[in-house]
């Protein structure tokens, strides 16, 4: 498996890296290495342990077990700044610079040249910044304020800062997620330049095309464990996706296109040309009464964006949505809810539940909000309503007055579902409803979704786990780069064949 460079000494050598969060093991005995002058990619789905490994490497997080060696020496960093001083610099997706200061300051902050009386020598500071930028072939006015530049330029400035010390390892965490095509090319030019200088670059991105374009080697993680380290040239794209998702060899199944139902009356919600940039562009979806539409796509394909666009959470930049054949503008979640289109967010805590409020209050919240402030649901009725949902969905413990934050993940999800179902919706969009839930509760929720459809609801079921998309979905929409590229019936489909569709790109067609 470890093919080349066996003779060379790795610049970075992580062995047996383990990180635990309370009871969860985020990283479990992972080995990882990087060589000078290579671009290395770290791949894995959400929760694979990528971020944790990066944090451990860059001093943002301490290892519970294992060690990090830099140039053969064991190193321990208390803060990211310590790591930076030792030669490991990081540029995060959310650029950690100061938009209110100048480009020069952002590069030189904390080590500005000073004159004899101890005042900052601005001319020298600008020169230093100019040189750092010029070394990357960038011409950016060092005296300009960082925030006035587009994100791509800010990203390049962040890289300039990162390498303006004696950098050995540069970590780029999702650096391209908000860049357009041209900007990515410019970034890649800089990366190649650094590589030529012998810097080891860790490139983390969910864009497979980019990984294949720029990276020499790929390390794959899954569920906090190491899957393996591969040469990019020797790893087929389909194999990479399989390793990330944990599937065995692929079999490209014969696929048949499913025609949208001719009977228009059964279409509850139909979306055409839905666009919310960045994220989804020109997506078409039809939801049918009594059917579960599974949505499958890789991370970054626009799964969540699609859900938010269909439910009035994000405003459409283009496209139309028809509900029961009538064109509707979903200007707010409130509007969508009143039209019977409800959304359960993948972020239960931040976008779903009101943690400090009770189970009862959480269940009745949306219904109460629909009725308005004055038409309060009588206490007895609230209790009856909540109790019936607690029983129907088997929420445990069946204590209506307990703060919802104290419930387990699965039961929290059920409370959120109960809130939405209390509205008697027509369309329910579930984004990762089973994430972070134990196996038993997961099956319960999957079965529940099926029952909902049997009762005439249109359900959209989004999940990163293809197995459950297939299990729950009547049809499956394949999402790539923010577009629905195909809709196929799940019957006769295997996870492997679905995987092939999800991972396929134009380049792979042959």
């Amino acid at each position: 498996m470890m093919s080349t460079m066996e003779d060379a000494q790795p610049l970075v050598q992580v062995t047996g890296a383990t990180v635990r969060f309370r009871s969860d093991t985020a990283l479990d005995g992972v080995d990882f290495r990087m060589f000078a002058g290579e671009v290395h990619s770290l791949m894995g789905e959400n929760g694979a342990g990528k971020s944790t490994l990066i944090k451990a490497l860059t001093g943002a997080l301490a290892l519970d077990a294992g060690e990090v060696r830099l140039g053969g020496e064991v190193v321990r960093f208390a803060t990211p700044h310590d790591a930076h001083l030792a030669g490991i610099s990081t540029v995060y997706q959310e650029i950690d610079l100061l938009p209110n200061l100048t480009v020069a300051e952002n590069i030189a902050l904390g080590r500005e040249p000073r004159n004899r009386v101890g005042a900052i020598d601005w001319a020298a500071t600008r020169r230093l910044a100019h040189d750092a930028l010029a070394a990357l072939g960038l011409e950016i006015d060092p005296a300009s304020v960082l925030g006035t530049h587009p994100l791509a330029v800010q990203q390049l400035v962040a890289i300039a800062r990162a390498i303006s010390t004696d950098v050995k390892v540069l970590v780029l965490d999702e650096p391209t997620s908000s860049l357009d095509f041209d900007e990515v090319a410019e970034l890649f030019r800089v990366i190649r330049e650094l590589k030529a200088r012998g810097v080891a670059i860790l490139f983390v991105s969910h864009f497979l095309d980019q990984v294949y374009e720029i990276c020499d080697r790929i390390t794959v993680l899954r569920n906090g464990r190491l899957v393996g380290e591969y040469l990019t040239t020797e790893l087929l794209r389909i194999d990479l996706v399989q390793k990330m998702l944990g599937r065995s060899a692929a079999a490209l199944a014969e696929r048949q296109t499913f025609d949208a139902p001719d009977d228009d009356s059964s279409v509850t919600l139909s979306a055409r040309g839905v666009t919310v940039l960045p994220g989804i562009a020109d997506a078409d979806v039809d939801l049918v009464e009594g059917e579960v539409l599974g949505v499958a796509g890789l991370l970054g394909s626009g799964r969540t964006k699609l859900a938010r666009a269909l439910t009035g959470v994000d405003r459409l930049e283009a496209g139309i949505i028809r509900i029961d054949g009538q064109e509707r503008r979903l200007s707010s979640p409130r509007r969508a809810l009143s039209l019977g289109v409800v959304y359960s967010s993948e972020n239960r805590r931040t976008e779903g539940l009101i943690g400090e409020l009770s189970v009862l209050e959480n269940i009745t919240l949306a219904l109460q909000a629909q009725r308005g402030v004055l038409r309060r649901i009588r206490s007895a009725r609230q209790r009856e309503l909540a109790a019936s949902w607690v029983e129907a969905l088997d929420i445990r413990p069946p204590d209506l007055d307990r703060p919802v934050a104290s419930l387990s993940g699965g039961n929290q999800q059920k409370v959120l579902l109960a809130r939405l179902l209390a509205l008697s919706p027509r369309v329910i969009v579930l984004d990762e409803p089973t994430r972070g839930i134990d196996v038993g509760a997961k099956v319960e929720i999957q079965n529940l979704v099926g029952e909902l459809a049997d009762n005439g609801l249109s359900v959209v079921f989004i999940s990163a786990e293809l197995e459950e998309v297939l299990r729950v979905g009547t049809r499956v929409a394949i999402l790539q780069d923010g577009r629905v590229v195909d809709v196929v019936p799940s019957e006769g489909l295997t996870t492997d064949s679905l995987l092939a569709m999800v991972a396929r790109s134009e380049g792979d067609e042959a």
Binding site: V19, F21, R22, D24, A26, L27, N46, G47, G49, S51, T52, K55, L61, G224, V313, S332, P333, R334, L337, S338, Y343, S345, T350, E351, G352, L353, I354, G355, E356, L357, E361, L365, A366, Q368, A369, Q370, R371, G372, V373, L374, R375, R376, I377, R419
Partner: protein, 348 residues
């Protein structure tokens, strides 16, 4: 017993009772109530009477704080409403005419409501930070009040108006009934309609509330409107007490007392679940504290030093960092226990 101790009102009530106990021990006359002409007199009755303006303001502040906001302008609003009412009475030349008084009181309340709506507009619609938005009115309000009174301290002589703050009904001060009525009305509106729970939802998690279809904007706006209206009424009580509209002195620092009362009552400044009962206890605590300070012979002007001490104490107790720090100190004194390092970060 344990359940009682865990109740959110336990500590606020304990503090209030302790304060009353200390007072009683140092001067038994504190709890004595005398009857004269069918009216009750005594320190406790004074506390009930004098706390009325603060009670009104603190109730409004509770609602505002529940939405994660703050209203610094309440003192200035009091000045405005008092000025409006008294100027109308003075200009009418007939200070005893009930219809004049009704118009004056109505106009004063409307002025307060208008101020609250203005604050709410800046915060809920324009999205300006509450501290700053209400600072604008805090600055300009007293100036407006001075304009209304034409730069003077408007004084009137009207027995019916005086009755509001100084009159008695069935042996108890009328102002106390005003407090009771305000508490009851706010409690009914918050807890008998869905306003209370929706306000808490918006205060705890604005985004989740939006996704659940809660009209956050209207709720926040309403909270500031209520605060303005209540402050308006407080301004009327204040002016009735001194029978003058003093734009500079009316409600001076009351915003701070009100915030303190809310916090003492166990409502967090970070917004969310609020307790009207806690605020009521907090108001009585502050009023008792003030009475204590006066009794101790400290000039009322020095009261702020005690208030500073209370503020620091309360915020420190609310600060998790301080509690951890104290806990560590305690831990060092007792048996050393190896505590696992708590991780706040989450894997991703």
């Amino acid at each position: 017993m344990n359940a009682v101790m865990k109740h959110r009102l336990f500590w606020p009530v304990v503090v209030l009772l302790a304060l009353i106990l200390v007072n009683t021990l140092s001067r038994p006359s504190f709890v004595s109530i005398t009857v004269q002409d069918g009216r009750l007199y005594g320190s406790l009755i004074d506390i009930l009477r004098n706390s009325a303006p603060l009670m009104l303001v603190a109730l409004g502040m509770t609602l505002v704080i529940a939405t994660r906001g703050i209203d610094l302008s309440v003192g200035a609003v009091m000045a405005v409403s008092g000025a409006v009412a008294l100027q109308i009475i003075q200009d009418s030349g007939d200070a005893a005419n009930p219809s004049v008084l009704a118009v004056a009181i109505g106009a004063g309340l409307l002025a307060g409501l208008a101020c609250g709506l203005w604050n709410g507009f800046l915060i809920a619609v324009l999205g300006i930070q509450p501290i700053i938005a209400t600072l604008v009115l805090m600055l300009a309000g007293r100036g407006i009040a001075l304009l209304i009174t034409r730069g003077f301290i408007t004084t009137i002589n009207s027995d019916p108006y005086k009755f509001m703050a100084q009159g008695y009904v069935v042996g108890l001060p009328f102002a106390f009934y005003v407090s009771l009525a305000a508490i009851a009305i706010v409690a009914v509106i918050e807890r008998r309609t869905a306003l209370g729970v929706l306000t808490e939802a918006v205060g705890i998690n604005p985004e989740a509330s939006r996704l659940a279809g809660v009209r956050a904007r209207g709720i926040i706006w309403g909270a500031y409107a209520a605060s303005g209206l209540l402050a308006g009424f407080a301004g009327l009580l204040y002016s009735s007490n001194i029978m003058a509209a003093d734009a500079n002195a009316a409600g001076l620092y009351i915003e701070l007392d009100a915030i303190l009362a809310v916090v003492l009552g166990g409502t967090s400044l970070a917004g969310g679940t609020f307790s009207l009962a806690g605020t009521v206890v907090g108001v009585f605590t502050i009023q008792t504290l003030k009475s204590t300070i006066t009794f101790l012979g400290v000039p009322p002007a020095v009261t702020p030093v005690f208030m500073a001490a209370v503020v620091v104490l309360v915020v420190l107790i609310q600060s998790s960092r301080f509690r951890r720090w104290v806990g560590r100190l305690g831990g060092r004194l007792s048996v050393r226990s190896a505590q696992p390092v708590e991780r706040t970060e989450v894997a991703s």
